[in-house]
Symmetry: C2
Amino acid sequence: MSAVPASTAAAMNLSSSSPPSPSFDAASWSQNHLARVEGALSQWVGDSAPAGLGDAMRYAVLDGGKRLRPLLVLAAYEAACSSAGAGAAAFDDAALRAACAVELIHAYSLVHDDMPCMDNDILRRGKPTVHVRFGEAQALLAGDALQAFAFELLTPDDSTTPAATQAALCRLLARAAGSAGMAGGQAIDLASVGIALTEDQLRHMHRLKTGALLQGSVLMGAVCGHAAQPAYKALSDYGAAMGLAFQVVDDILDVVADSATLGKTAGKDAAADKPTYVSLLGLERAQAYAQELLHEAQAALTRSGLPDTRALAALADMVVRRSH
Amino acid sequence: MSAVPASTAAAMNLSSSSPPSPSFDAASWSQNHLARVEGALSQWVGDSAPAGLGDAMRYAVLDGGKRLRPLLVLAAYEAACSSAGAGAAAFDDAALRAACAVELIHAYSLVHDDMPCMDNDILRRGKPTVHVRFGEAQALLAGDALQAFAFELLTPDDSTTPAATQAALCRLLARAAGSAGMAGGQAIDLASVGIALTEDQLRHMHRLKTGALLQGSVLMGAVCGHAAQPAYKALSDYGAAMGLAFQVVDDILDVVADSATLGKTAGKDAAADKPTYVSLLGLERAQAYAQELLHEAQAALTRSGLPDTRALAALADMVVRRSH
């Protein structure tokens, strides 16, 4: 998989921010941006990986998932660009690459999570998991290669993206994915089965396990859009609240939804005796907590002072109201 | 694992290049530089990773291995700095970080390679493998976290290393580790068991599986030392020849050495019916080929025009003459 020409992303016509329009159609916004992400992922992932590895990588990434993380990157990027005086168009390529990179990290984590030595899950997004389809060894390698490719996507050598932006994106992604982020949260999760966590401990686990990459997505978009302080700080707060809300809702859905709606095995946290917000707070208080976090996220957007944060607001809303 | 202060590396006193001295003591050079790498790895790896993850990461990385890749980074860095007019001292921190980053990638690949779904090996560097010691799930996570940490090490936010260098290092490492490099080579390896490869196919597999990261190590050192063309190209040729020589010798040692000397299971390639240079060329021609590659590597160093490439020459020599 060699370097992807910067011109590819330009040809995909990722729009620079347009002036706020009186009405905001969240569904159209999502559909429009999803199409760009899907197109870029389909073009970039696994195109020349040898010996079946590319097939496993593409299977893991394409045609599935809500793409919440890429949408957060693009929404944060556009929000930052909506600031007066921000010159955004030149960095569209960086934003699209960052959007794809966070999805690659998310996808690799699912591949490894589903393996027999972890959650041993056979169903993901309504399809057989990667190790079921391609074997464990290929699944392990595909996950490893997807993580490396995320960093390759962020550092094109023929791009107009400034090196400082490339380096900052790698830094944010590495921290969000590593032992102080996603991987660390998974280690806590492993060690927590059958253990009664306090609410603080549960929150810490989720801030790392899922929150770090969701918040990282927002921050990577903010970096691509050259958000200045204090907007950057406010977007960080938005990312933290929204990331935690995502996990609280995940725990709720694990209890109230069925497998067909979820596209994965429902009730597995309870079956695995894993601590969740529902087991800790009960269903009603967990639902109230999700609402509270949504309000926190919205307050942070107001505090950012950015003229147009409607896509970010819509995504936070979607996170809390989703049914799967 | 938060950002590592740039000053840490400075405090470790990684020397900038000194003028070529009349005699070169390769053993002292290696010992001196190994101590710096070991010190940095010990300080940086897994220091604050939660829930036992840090222990598994440190076990995978510390107290073992030849550290060939880090030494290649530092030797290439110093060779590049030996060029007239190169101002090197300011980038010592980048070179030490790059040296550690390539070792983290190497270490993670061993952890994942040893897992039951891959080579199912229980002995590595004379010790139980990570999954034997910590369980498969923790081994999987430790490998994942080590890969992420490699990129985190390359992108410190309080460093004097220029962003362009940081981005270039991430680019080189991601390509060397990913589907066009190490992970791709492993996929070919997986698909090649019991298959008669041609010499070209075997060479392609090894250029990816082990060659890419060895060559990448040389190139990362060259980038830290700001090697100009044509020295960069010559160092790349050196890295390619030396990387392939490494694998040819590995294949030879798998046949002629015993497990105690290797610190890992000997004869396992033959037992697994994997194609090797020895099975393809026979022992004698494989040994001659290793010598030929050593000469190629030495010729490339001469061609580089760099005043002092003695450490790189000594490392190539060591690669071919090693007994384990």
